[in-house]
């Protein structure tokens, strides 16, 4: 009896420790967001006179409107609106292409092995570890050669190519767990390469599509390096515009506008995560553990 009591007491202590730590970390991560949100709805006077974490006395949406519509970025005064749409126009095709090609790659590398396919896969995986700085110059030459320099389609191409290593890895590991007997059954039933892909493989691929789409959307949306190197002026994605907004020299540093713009730039990835997030953890582990 005393034994049981002692154990439950030490269990309680353990729980308090675990939850205490979790709460501490949650606060640590959430405080910056909190500061960003309250700062973005304060006016400049309040920011100058109040403390960092003081709640706004007279909340205003003016900084948000300015960040979105008429803040000065580089030489224009139209806010980040246009750049936001640039990012959308870049992300959607780049995510779609890299995901679809990755799916076909994964299908081939798991179900239609050929001589040297494992070597091919290993080499492709190296792509996950190559720092993007290494490829900047060759890529710039390639884009110039293709006539895609400083265009959104150029960025789409770059992101598609450099996303393939990851998307192929995701799909290949997912499809390895799909029984090959299914593919053989369909082959005997008379289905060919693409028919098997469309009718048999794709319908069971929802979780890994979600994972890949979230991953690629986040990666491409948040990319700064390719955006700053391969685009100028009106084709820049929102990450580059945000940087320019914050760095545009003017008489006063408008922290509230900067914060609002930063939150706007982060919203789409948050949105994607909330919509499809439940698939994320499930899909990431799907290839690793059978069942």
């Amino acid at each position: 009896m005393p034994d049981a009591i002692r154990r439950s007491r030490s269990e309680t202590a353990g729980r308090i420790l675990i939850y205490g730590t979790l709460v501490l970390f949650a606060v640590y991560f959430l405080v910056p967001l909190f500061v960003m949100v309250i700062t973005s709805v304060k006016n400049m006077d309040e920011i100058r006179t109040g403390t960092l974490i003081a709640l706004p006395q007279q909340p205003t949406l003016e900084p948000w409107l300015k960040a979105w519509g008429y803040a000065t970025i580089g030489v224009t005064n139209e806010g980040i609106r246009g750049f936001f749409w640039n990012s959308i126009r870049m992300v959607i095709p780049a995510v779609l292409f890299s995901t679809l090609i990755g799916a076909v790659n994964g299908y081939v590398l798991s179900k239609w092995r050929f001589r040297g396919s494992d070597t091919f896969f290993a080499m492709l995986l190296l792509g996950c570890f190559i720092p993007f700085q290494v490829v900047l110059l060759p890529m710039a030459r390639t884009l110039g050669f293709l006539g895609l320099s400083e265009s959104i389609w150029g960025l789409v191409l770059v992101h598609t190519v450099y996303g393939l290593a990851f998307t192929t890895l995701f799909f290949r590991n997912y499809y390895v767990a799909v029984p090959s007997e299914l593919v053989n059954a369909a082959r005997i039933d008379g289905a060919g390469f693409f028919r098997i892909f469309w009718k048999i493989m794709l319908p069971v691929s929802t979780p890994i599509f979600m994972v890949t789409i979230i991953w690629q959307t986040t990666q491409i949306w948040n990319d700064f390096l390719f955006g700053v190197c391969f685009s100028t002026g009106e084709t820049q994605p929102v990450t580059v515009a945000l940087n320019n907004l914050v760095n545009t020299s003017s008489s006063v540093k408008e922290y509230n506008v900067d914060m609002a713009a930063a939150i706007i730039a982060a919203l789409p990835t948050l949105f994607v995560y909330f919509v499809a997030g439940k698939y994320f953890v499930r899909g990431l582990t799907a290839g690793a553990v059978k069942g």
């Binding site: 029984p179 007997e181 053989n184 082959r187 008379g190």
Partner: protein, 370 residues
């Protein structure tokens, strides 16, 4: 329905020779079972017949058509897989129709066939369900239904019953046999279970290490095994193998047997051939049912030898009781009538049928014909 000829077929994966010259021929409508321990190459051979793997050398013919280079979809075969391989995203009806749609069978004909197959297999009420909503036995039926709906020349079964529980396996075994009698289509059936092989087959190919050890009817492989491996593989409990040293007594060649407590008796050996000669060490094979309880009147039967020995273990199975004893320092099992069953530690008188032993070379395992 088509005949199937496998002519000197080999298969190598890289340097590993998996099949080493397979020769099998069955007539149209026959039920062929490929049986053997895991790794013997039986599933590889089935994949070659299906066209899922390519043949290294040799030839496979269906009817009078060489199919070596014909892709699986054009071979007019249907296959039932061990895991059933039902398309998880389609309901049963779509599973049955998928192969017909890819072959552009007219819609009305597809409906007809699905209806008929569903009746044959009693799965009419499952047609709208997804595979995940079916039990193992139901999935098995749907997998067979998918093959039947195709109306192929040859059915291929890859260990179709090994994922079912014991009772269901026996039921489905009978159903497969009935189905074969009803459809009359040529079947190639792979299993590692010798009872399935015996009960289902018209002809059995017993394989080991990529070689067909024996290709014969079920009765043939049971009564006349070609070598030690076949003799030990077919039959349950397995045949007893007793090392004996032949000798000549009263002018006859005999195999002496000595029990654990030193009693000695002899089994006459049929002929004095070169292989069966005095002083030779050979292996004598005798099935458990050929050593049984000694009954009244057997003394006068010329082919029965009496054998008194101590009982080590007794295993009742219901219809028979298995009794383990020791001869020539080898454990042997005998099949007795339950009424006559002794207890462990008893000494019992057994009737040894001296017409039944088979003899094998110890080194090669080959059968020595008398």
């Amino acid at each position: 329905m088509a005949s199937l000829v496998i002519d000197n077929v080999t298969k190598a994966f890289g340097r590993v020779q998996v099949l080493k010259g397979i020769d099998i021929a069955v007539d149209a409508g026959e039920f062929l079972v490929l049986v053997g321990p895991s790794g013997c190459g039986k599933s590889t051979l089935l994949n070659l017949i299906a066209g899922l793997e390519s043949i290294t050398t040799g030839e496979i013919r269906m009817g009078d058509r060489v199919v070596n280079n014909i892709p699986p979809k054009d071979r007019d075969i249907a296959m039932v897989f061990q895991s059933y391989a039902l398309y998880p995203n389609m309901n049963v009806r779509r599973n049955l129709s998928f192969g017909l749609e890819t072959r552009k069978v007219p819609r009305a004909e597809i409906e007809n066939r699905i209806q008929r197959v569903a009746e044959i297999l009693q799965i009419e009420n499952l047609l709208e369900r997804k595979p995940s909503q079916l039990s193992g036995g139901q999935r098995q039926r749907v997998a067979m239904g998918r093959a039947i709906a195709r109306e192929p020349l040859i059915f291929l079964f890859d260990e179709p019953l090994s994922n079912l529980d014991a009772k269901l396996r026996v039921e489905m075994r009978t159903e497969i046999k009935k189905l074969h009698q009803r459809l009359g289509t040529t079947i190639v059936y792979v299993t590692h279970d010798q009872i399935e092989a015996m009960t289902l087959a018209d002809r059995i190919a017993i394989m080991k290490d990529g070689i067909v050890q024996q290709f014969d009817t079920p009765d043939g492989v049971y009564a006349n095994p070609a070598n030690l491996f076949v003799a030990g593989f077919i039959g349950s409990p397995a045949m007893n193998f007793i090392p004996v040293s032949l000798s000549r007594e009263n002018g006859h060649l005999v195999a002496p047997l000595v029990t654990a407590d030193g009693r000695r008796f002899t089994v006459p050996v049929p002929a004095d051939t070169g292989a069966l000669a005095p002083e030779r060490e050979i292996i004598m094979g005798i099935r458990p049912e050929n050593i049984t309880d000694f009954q009244e009147g057997m003394q006068s039967w010329a082919h029965i030898a009496a054998l008194e020995c101590g009982v080590n273990v007794v295993e009742p199975t219901g219809p028979d009781t298995l009794v383990y004893t020791e001869v020539n320092q080898t454990q042997i099992v005998c099949r007795l009538c339950p009424d006559a069953a002794p207890k462990a530690g008893d000494t019992i008188r057994l009737a040894f049928d001296t017409t039944k032993p088979l003899f094998f070379e110890p080194g090669t395992g080959n059968r020595i014909e008398g």
